[in-house]
């Protein structure tokens, strides 16, 4: 069979061949992950991705848009702040983390008195039961922890922290 000159016989590069397979969800996890990383950085691959979308939609009878909608949306998205979601860190059972978690729980139970001066009564405050695992939450948000702030008018009253014993 004579080769058709309008049809490329060889891939222009492994990435292009891989991109076509990625577009169809047919790449291995390892290859796909590597190509996805490159996809958002490489203009040529990004252009191919758009072309494959147009081709597929045209074959399925969806009309092509000259891009006014995409241009509008791009402009709107450009004004959105860049997302930076908290990094999910693996949670390990570690005594130091428990201690810091307990310390944080203890710290936030201090009662702040702004208006009633001179009442030295210690207040019993039931803390969270010891077997509740706050580690994942703290691990995810430790980069965003805000220190407690105070001004001169605030008075801190110490509280007696009672940790409920849960039967094992």
């Amino acid at each position: 069979m004579q080769p058709n000159p309008s049809v490329p016989l060889q891939a222009t590069g492994q990435d292009d061949d891989g991109l076509s397979a990625l577009f169809d969800g047919e790449l291995s996890d390892a290859q796909g992950a590597a190509l996805i990383r490159r996809l958002s950085e490489d203009d040529r691959l990004g252009g191919r991705w758009s072309e494959y979308s147009v081709i597929g939609d045209a074959l399925r009878g969806t009309a092509y848009s000259s891009g006014r909608f995409r241009a509008r949306l791009r402009s709107a998205l450009a004004q959105e702040p860049t997302l930076l979601a908290p990094v999910r860190r693996p949670v390990r059972s570690h005594p130091a983390l428990w201690l810091s978690a307990a310390a944080t729980v203890a710290a936030v139970t201090w009662m702040v008195l702004g208006a009633a001066p001179g009442d030295p009564t210690a207040v019993e405050f039931a803390a969270r039961p010891a077997d509740v695992n706050v580690s994942p939450y703290l691990a995810a948000h430790q980069d965003y922890a805000q220190a407690l702030t105070a001004n001169a008018e605030m008075r801190f009253m110490p509280v007696k922290l009672a940790i409920a014993e849960t039967p094992r």
Binding site: P8, A33, W49, S53, L59, R60, A63, Y64, R70, L83
Partner: protein, 200 residues
Amino acid sequence: MSERDIDRQLVERVRQGDKRAFDLLVEKYWRRLIRLLSRMVRDPDDVQDIAQETFIKAYRALPQFRGDAAFYTWLYRIGVNTAKNYLVAKGKAMPTLSQQALPDEDDGVEERLAVQDVSTPESELLSKQVALAVNEAVENLPEELRTAITLREIEGLSYEEIANLMACPIGTVRSRIFRAREAIAAKLRPILGTSEDKRW
């Protein structure tokens, strides 16, 4: 790696600050979203407004996206709710499920109008040229490439299924689909004014 895995990885990249990864998701799904919204809202300009609002909402809500549902399903839910709110604000009723399920004679017209930029005759002409170019390019493909791309894009078969149907290795299917796409893209580029090296 399935399409769902690809979307999940792109979402993760967006959450790490890569806005271009969201652009890739938009490019993949915006026409499909508009097609669905056109079943609920008749005015094509309103459909585009709702679609834009849907994508903005989805972008802002990505930190909360857990991946339990497929990205497109999640996006579609946002789109439906946005369309509902829009219709309520305009004092209109949502189409009933039976109306949505039954195709009518005009099925696809609003969708086509919404996807097109109907404001100019030029954009309508461009849309027709693109459709013509793609169909002509497919017709001029060698039979095995035409079969492979058709089974993939229109019938939605996997490479394995296509390989079984065409009695060839999966690698051959992958190559045929890639070559078909390249041949079609080469015919499209002069019409779209794009080049091989540039992002759109």
